[in-house]
């Protein structure tokens, strides 16, 4: 309860009060002092009342009314039967409201409208407002209710909903309600959903290459086992129609598609089912951009090496450029023009370090694909070890620490003749020793090594032994000292005799010499070597070596021949040979690959039908690679991994008529290699132009990050996007720069479906810099997807506002809170009071009423009461007495100069004689007292 004034300024008129007082002070009237004071006070009271009335006082008391807004959820997730319950509940609630209560009804779905303004009517018609049911915006309903309810009565909001909010944030609006002290009472509608079949998602690859087949995956959720008809449309044309059996829960249906033409394609999937409640959720959209055929660069070590492979790839629809490694330009700008690079049996020696770095960067940073195909010159044999190329591969060439099936026995036959002491800088001998030491480093424990030095005679520097103590072996090698002639044949023979008895898969002799030798029966010796699987390589150093002999020896010995004038090349040649022979570990035995991993590469290929391979290069898988096929010895044959942005596939066998000769006639040969290469082909998008699209309410934010090949931000470009919306309307939105290398804009979302964007960047001078397509799908409203009720949200809203979950309709109108009510104007009673007081004022001045008069009046009242009682007791006698007393009272009254009471008292038959008798003496005695009083007062005054 509070008081306020509509015209508080009028209170200034109270300043008139002293004027009345001053006038009174200067009065020349001759009213008695007490009377004058009384009259003054009465007058001041009258003025005060009038001024107060002018100020317009109002009391705002406690509201005894309530206004309740009922928020009724009419969104589509509220089924007809739930709606009936809603209405029944509403009727019962409104019927139970008090006399002075009023109720409003607000219907809400995707928006909120006042269905019925505040009224005290108890009839509730069915909801007639037209509200879109495709969404549920509880916050809009609360906002409208807060605006509708007057603040002068107790307010409440009753929220009848399933709580399935999908637009706005009701909880934020609830906080506003709390701030304005409006509790929200929530009535959760329990759900009664019918059978439902809905499309969760339609998935197609965002990008496909021209001529490529792909699959659309349709995810359908069903509330029960049922049958549905599935239609797939592309660009508005029906592609396929089929009947599918759905089981309860999530079902994935794979719909294989034929290749589509280049450009943007819009897919729609529709389902029809007899057991379905909502049709709005029976459609899913997706898009696919078909871009040009991927270009693949195949680099081969020698012409014809990759002939079969290239044919296979071409027949699978890839554009293939085939180049010999010596002719191929392998730098970033050239590689950018290809989606994938295939290296077919290319040894590292034929690639420069710069080229290998370019290949590595092409995969890691540009996201290009890389397929490395083995062969007798590849991987370990091709000395990929410790090159940028090995870094990019899913396998290591280093076999150390692995149980090698191909154990090695190696004997180094080193010329220690006097001529070896010479040489530029360091002696040839020292270089040969260093070469030998480096060779032992490439071997492991299960390998055997021997070092035989020779001049005129042969001498075992290192007895052939398992390499358990490499340090010791290397010390012994250091002890060779040159001197004497050159006798090659006996040394080689000694070495052969030694090695032939050794137990090793690979037996190899490496001859290193710089001079001419006396003859020997090399033919027979090499023949025996061949029979015993011992190979011989030769290295000729210096200008006076017997080149022809050494070359022939290597040929006969199935080894390699090296020659070099520069002695510094010796260690390198030794390493090369040792690697090739020992470490490369070419395994040549027929086997069928075994599948150990799953990958799209092997999709649709029956591994058990794969023809046998005849050999491969042994490698070690890297920890994070994925091995798909292995050999009998569980060495990786086919492996893949992600390297930076690019994908790399390693095939350690070959793809020609050496190890894979049975494969060339395999019907899946082409398919297999196409799948291998396609696996490495990146999304056909410009990696330097990243696009992210985030739908945010009625707009979608498009963020474009532009970067150049050398990893610097692309700034000050004019960027825009051409947008094609689901209704095929085209528009253009600008994407201004917002940060280094970042461009951003918003596009309005009008309808659900797939949106296609083509983003174009031009430099300030107008030249096209980059462009790429992008797309996104706006699914149908969440109203039809998340069909579960959300009573938690309702509880949260209720708790937030101090309301509660309501069970009984009649609880609504129980008053719980005090709220200021409608203000009540106070001025009329004030004016009435002023008028009456004014009359008293006048009367007091004219009639000089005193206490005596009041007492007399009181006595009359008493008489009346008693009189009535007596009259009832003795009516007859009383009449006589009354007639008598009337005369005497009238006389007394008139003598007193008064009229009122007496005149009135007599007809009302007040008096018994006794009563009159009592009244008179008392009044006379009072009169006497007053006279005395007046005399006393007068006395001092006269002095």
């Amino acid at each position: 309860m509070s008081l306020d004034f509509t015209h508080p300024l009028a209170l200034l008129l109270l300043g008139l009060l002293p004027a009345f007082w001053l006038i009174d002070r200067a009065s020349r009237t001759h009213l008695p002092r007490r009377r004058r004071r009384l009259v003054l006070w009465v007058r001041l009271a009258v003025v005060l009342l009038v001024v107060l009335a002018l100020a317009g006082p109002r009391v705002i008391g406690q509201a005894d009314q309530q206004a309740v807004a009922f928020l009724v959820d009419v969104s589509d997730s509220v089924t007809p039967s739930m709606r009936e319950r809603e209405l029944a509940w509403l009727r019962e609630a409104i019927n139970g409201m008090g006399e002075r209560d009023r109720a409003a009804i607000i219907a809400f779905g995707d928006q909120a409208v006042v269905e019925r303004p505040l009224s005290s009517a108890r009839q509730v018609a069915p909801i007639a407002s037209i509200v879109g049911g495709g969404q549920t915006d509880i916050s809009a309903a609360i906002r409208l209710a807060l605006a509708t309810l007057p603040s002068t009565v107790a307010r409440k909001i009753v929220l009848i909903s399933d709580g399935n909010e999908n637009v706005g944030r009701a909880i934020d609006q609830a906080r506003v309600a709390r701030a304005t002290k409006v509790p929200i009472l929530a009535v959760p509608l329990s759900q009664q959903l019918g059978p439902e079949v809905l499309v969760r998602q339609l998935e197609t690859p965002a990008f496909v290459r021209d001529g490529e087949t792909f699959s659309a995956v349709l995810t359908i959720e069903a509330s029960q086992d049922t049958v549905a008809q599935v239609h797939l449309l592309a660009d508005g044309k029906l592609l396929s129609s089929q009947s599918v059996e759905l089981s309860q829960g999530i079902n994935s249906i794979v719909l294989p598609q034929d290749p589509l033409g280049q450009g943007f394609h819009l897919f729609r999937a529709q389902i029809e089912s007899a057991t379905d409640s909502f049709v709005q959720n029976n459609e899913g959209g997706s898009y696919t951009v078909v871009t040009g055929r991927p270009r693949v660069l195949v680099v081969e070590s020698d012409a014809g090496e990759a002939r079969y492979l290239a044919d296979a790839l071409r027949s699978a629809g890839l554009e293939v450029d085939i180049k010999e490694v010596n002719e191929a330009i392998l730098d970033l700008p050239t590689l950018r023009g290809y989606e994938s690079l295939v290296l077919a049996n290319v040894p590292a020696a034929q690639l420069s370090v710069t080229q290998m770095r370019a290949i590595n960067s092409y995969v890691q940073n540009l996201g290009g694909g890389l397929v490395v195909i083995g062969g007798e010159k590849s991987y370990g044999v091709g000395r990929y070890n410790r090159t940028p190329l090995e870094e990019a591969l899913p396998v290591r060439m280093d076999l150390r620490g692995r149980t090698l099936t191909a154990s090695v026995a190696l004997i180094l036959v080193i010329d220690a003749s006097g001529s070896m002491a010479g040489g530029p800088g360091s002696s040839k001998m020292d270089l040969a020793k260093e070469a030998a030491i480096r060779a032992t480093e490439l071997l492991s424990e299960q390998d055997q090594v021997g070092v035989l030095s020779f001049d005129d005679t042969s001498r075992w520097v290192v007895e052939t032994q398992f390499l358990t103590d490499p340090g010791n072996v290397q010390t012994q090698i250091g002890s060779i000292s040159p001197g004497g002639g050159t006798a090659i044949y006996p040394a080689v023979e000694t070495a052969f005799n030694d090695i032939v008895a050794r137990d090793a898969k690979v037996k190899h002799i490496l001859l290193l010499t710089d001079g001419l030798s006396t003859g020997g029966d090399y033919e027979t010796l090499t023949q025996r070597m061949l029979q015993n699987s011992v190979t011989l390589s030769t290295i000729a150093i210096g200008s006076d070596a017997d080149f022809a002999l050494l070359r022939r020896l290597a040929d006969l010995g199935h080894g390699r021949y090296f020659e070099g004038n520069d002695p510094f090349e010796v260690p390198q040649m030794v390493i090369k040979d040792t690697q090739e022979v020992a470490r490369a570990a070419i395994v040549e035995e027929p086997f069928r690959p075994t599948q150990v991993g799953a990958s799209p590469i092997l999709e649709g290929i029956d591994v058990s039908l794969m023809p046998p391979l005849l050999g491969y290069v042994s490698t070690t898988p890297k920890p994070t690679s994925q091995i798909l096929l292995v050999s009998k010895q569980v060495d990786p044959i086919l492996s893949e991994w992600q390297y930076g942005l690019g994908h790399v596939v390693a095939w350690t066998s070959d793809a020609k008529n050496r190890w894979a000769q049975d494969w060339l006639t395999w019907p899946d040969f082409s398919r297999f290699w196409a799948q291998v290469v396609k696996r490495t082909i990146p999304n056909p998008i410009d990696r330097n132009l990243q696009v992210q699209i985030t739908p945010e309410g009625s707009t979608a934010r498009v963020t474009v990050d532009a970067i150049s090949d050398d990893k610097t931000y692309q700034n000050f470009l004019s960027t825009s996007a051409t947008v094609v919306d689901p209704s095929n309307t085209q528009s253009q939105i600008p994407l201004p720069q917002v940060a280094p290398g970042r461009y951003e804009g918003r596009l309005p979302i009008t309808t659900e479906g797939a949106y296609f964007l083509n983003i174009v960047q031009t430099s300030p001078d107008g030249t096209l810099q980059a462009g790429r397509p992008a797309g996104f799908v706006i699914p149908y409203s969440a109203e039809y997807r998340d069909l579960r009720a959300n009573p938690e949200l309702l509880g949260q809203i209720a708790r937030e506002t101090g309301g509660k979950i309501l069970a009984e309709p009649r609880d609504i109108f129980i008053r719980e809170q005090t709220v200021s009510g409608q203000p009540r104007e106070l001025w009329p009673p004030l004016l009435v009071l002023a008028a009456l007081l004014f009359l008293f004022d006048v009367a007091a001045r004219r009639l000089r009423l005193g206490w005596m008069d009041a007492e007399r009046a009181w006595a009359h009242v008493l008489d009346n009461w008693l009189g009535r009682a007596r009259r009832a007791a003795a009516p007859a006698a009383a009449k006589l007495l009354a007639a008598k007393s009337r005369i005497s009272i009238e006389a007394a009254g008139f003598a007193d100069g008064r009229r009122g009471e007496a005149a009135r008292a007599s007809p009302s038959a007040a008096g018994s004689a006794q009563a009159v008798g009592e009244a008179q003496p008392r009044s006379s005695s009072v009169l006497g007292a007053r006279l005395l009083d007046a005399k006393k007062r007068a006395a001092p005054r006269s002095r």
């Binding site: 009038v50 995810t219 009359l839």
Partner: protein, 617 residues
């Protein structure tokens, strides 16, 4: 003239009573006197038995009758029918967008709009009710329909202008749905028109009146200031900024850039009308924390003459991996930028203080009580956090939430899982990856701490070998790592910022651009800080045991491409028709009460009567 409460005329009975008082003789006081010789006349009067006397008309009597008459008349509430404004339900929509802070009109557009609104209230017809709606990003009803002018004016006084755009359309839709039950609806829109057209609002059949404020749109603004790390060197930052002239005149202004409070750049720029200039700064000093840019000059909208940016240097977070040894996890966690990974075996977990780590990754192990930081739970045993209901064999990934930040850019098509725990999703978690009948990835906030559950052993899947794995793990750790306030984009004044304190933090001290710092006590729960009314750089210090353990910055910027364009414009409706400026209301006959004039008259007569009575001897 008619009477509203004619019954009150019944009080007219007071006038005869008044006259009656004059008919009665004035009672004389009795004084004993020696002789009554001189008062013969009076004596005769007294002697007469008649109490009446003849009515003497006097000034007093007439005045008194007039007074009573006036009061009675006032009480009867006479009124004249006059031509006046009709009583309506007026909805006053105040545009509170940032451009209303422009000072092209004194003292500001919003203040002028406020004054106009007050005037409109006063001009409303007798008996009108009004509703005040403040149009901000969401319309707000400041005063629901009432005829209480004072509460309406109080609401207007309390209205505050915002720092962001306003959704005028939504405010108008709200205004028009208020319903006509309180008289004819009339909407007043107080705005500078500096917003886009009202596409979905054609105002058909609605009495809507525009009150325009603002005259001049001269404004230069810093409409963009953003820094990103150099792609080649993540520790060096590059800065982009744009300055635009929104006015119709060429402008010359001085742009200055401060790095960590030190002036690093100052240049004069000339801007043709409507043009923008963009700048890149790539030589920011290493280790710089924040930059601010200022435009000199006095345009009408000083709010956007400064912009602030925090260089997003994130604190390295400490991750604890509780695992028997998992190469894949160690490797992928080690790759995360800005994080330090610690490893502990499960049996030693209880001997260390897990609460001090920002993120704890549990691999095949879960303690009974969770640490204070956020957690990634991989292949967990049964625990109180959730229930495990057997095992899934070869679950197929049916669906994943591509739009969720945790799964952004993650392609799970090739991922196969051999076996997974069948977990019943707890209420606090949302399912991100679904197989047929059980979740394969869950995320949510448990006890205020973010928690992600991956209910399978990653070694029982090819996930670690897929391209998706590092992306997904980076996303998950990005979701779990605390801090990173600076990364919150587009923070406008008044926007709330959520600060996730470090697990061991006890207090947050928030330094504002001006004013005393604010200390908030925290208990591991994220804090929402909304006191960001002032543009500028804010500092957040996390403190524990009196020590600052983390110092971060965030920037609040008032600049906004749309709001910086403060040119007053006509408001175009959805049907292409411009909204008309407010016209004078049509006059309708209304009742005008006059009691308020009668009462002062009575007051004057009272004074006169009092004076007359007392002057009489």
């Amino acid at each position: 003239m008619s009477l509203l409460t004619p019954a009150m005329l019944g009080l007219g009975i007071l006038i005869p009573i008044l006259i009656l008082l004059y008919l009665l003789k004035v009672r004389r006081l009795e004084y004993p006197v020696s002789s009554t010789l001189l008062w013969q006349d009076l004596l005769r009067d007294l002697a007469a038995h008649e109490p009446w006397q003849r009515l003497h008309w006097s000034v007093l009597l007439v005045t008194q009758i007039l007074i009573v008459g006036l009061v009675v008349l006032a009480l009867a509430r006479p009124f004249f029918v006059v031509q006046a404004q009709e009583a309506v339900h007026a909805v006053l929509v105040l545009d509170a967008s940032a451009s209303m802070q422009a000072t092209d009109v004194e003292p500001s557009r919003f203040e002028v709009a406020r004054r106009a609104a007050r005037q409109t209230l006063r001009d409303l017809g007798e008996g009108s009710v009004a509703t005040i709606v403040l149009a901000k990003s969401q319309p707000e009803v400041l005063a629901p329909a009432t005829d209480d002018r004072q509460s309406l004016e109080r609401a207007i006084d309390a209205a505050e202008v915002s720092f962001g755009p306003a959704d005028i359309q939504q405010a108008l839709v709200l205004a028009t749905t208020l319903g006509p039950e309180r008289g004819r609806l009339r909407v007043y829109l107080f705005t500078d028109g500096a917003f886009g057209e009202l596409k979905g609002f054609d105002a058909e059949g609605i009495d809507i009146r525009l009150v325009s404020v603002g005259v001049d749109g001269e404004n230069q603004a810093i409409t963009g200031l953003a820094a990103r790390p150099d792609p080649q060197n993540a520790r060096r930052f590059q800065l982009f900024t744009r300055v635009r002239n929104y006015g119709d005149q060429p402008a010359r202004t001085t742009f200055s850039l401060q790095v960590d409070g030190q002036l690093s750049e100052s240049r004069q720029i000339d801007l043709p009308p409507g043009e923008a200039q963009e700048f890149m700064f790539s030589d920011l000093p290493l280790g710089a924390k924040a930059v601010e840019a200022h435009l000199a000059g006095s345009d009408h909208f000083p709010l956007d003459n400064a912009a602030y940016a925090v260089l997003d240097v994130r604190r390295s977070s400490e991750i604890l991996l509780v695992s028997q040894g998992n190469l894949f996890l160690e490797k992928v966690l080690g790759l995360l930028p800005n994080s330090e990974v610690f490893r502990v075996a499960p049996r030693r977990y209880f001997s260390i203080d897990a609460d001090r780590y920002d993120v704890v990754v549990f691999d095949g192990f879960l303690p009974d009580s969770m640490p204070r930081g956020s957690a990634l739970v991989i292949n967990p045993p049964e625990s109180s956090l959730f229930t495990i209901d057997g095992e899934l064999r070869r679950p197929r990934i049916r669906h994943w939430e591509r739009d969720d930040p945790v799964l952004q850019f993650v392609d799970l098509r090739d991922v196969a899982i051999a076996r997974a725990q069948r977990i019943t999703p707890p209420g606090w978690a949302r399912t991100l990856i679904e197989s047929d009948d059980a979740p394969l990835l869950l995320a949510g906030e448990h006890d205020g701490q973010r928690t992600v559950i991956m209910p399978f052993d990653i070694r029982q899947s090819n996930l670690p070998l897929s391209a998706a794995f590092p992306i997904m793990m980076a996303n998950i750790l990005g979701y779990l790592e605390p801090g990173g306030q600076a990364a919150q984009r587009d923070l406008h004044p008044g926007d709330a910022i959520t600060i996730a304190p470090l697990p061991q933090a006890e207090d947050l001290v928030i330094r504002r651009p001006s004013g005393p710092p604010k200390t908030i006590h925290v208990e591991g729960q994220p804090i929402t800080f909304a006191d960001t009314g002032e543009p500028g750089l804010y500092g957040v210090s996390q403190r524990a045991a009196g020590q600052t353990i983390l110092e971060e910055l965030f920037a609040v910027n008032a600049s906004d491409e749309q709001e910086s364009d403060i040119r007053p414009r006509t408001v175009l409706l959805g049907n292409g028709r411009p909204l008309q400026a407010g016209t004078q209301a049509d006059l309708v006959p209304v009742n005008r009460e006059i009691w308020l004039w009668l009462a002062p008259l009575a007051l004057g007569l009272l004074l006169f009567e009092w004076f007359w009575f007392h002057r009489r001897s």
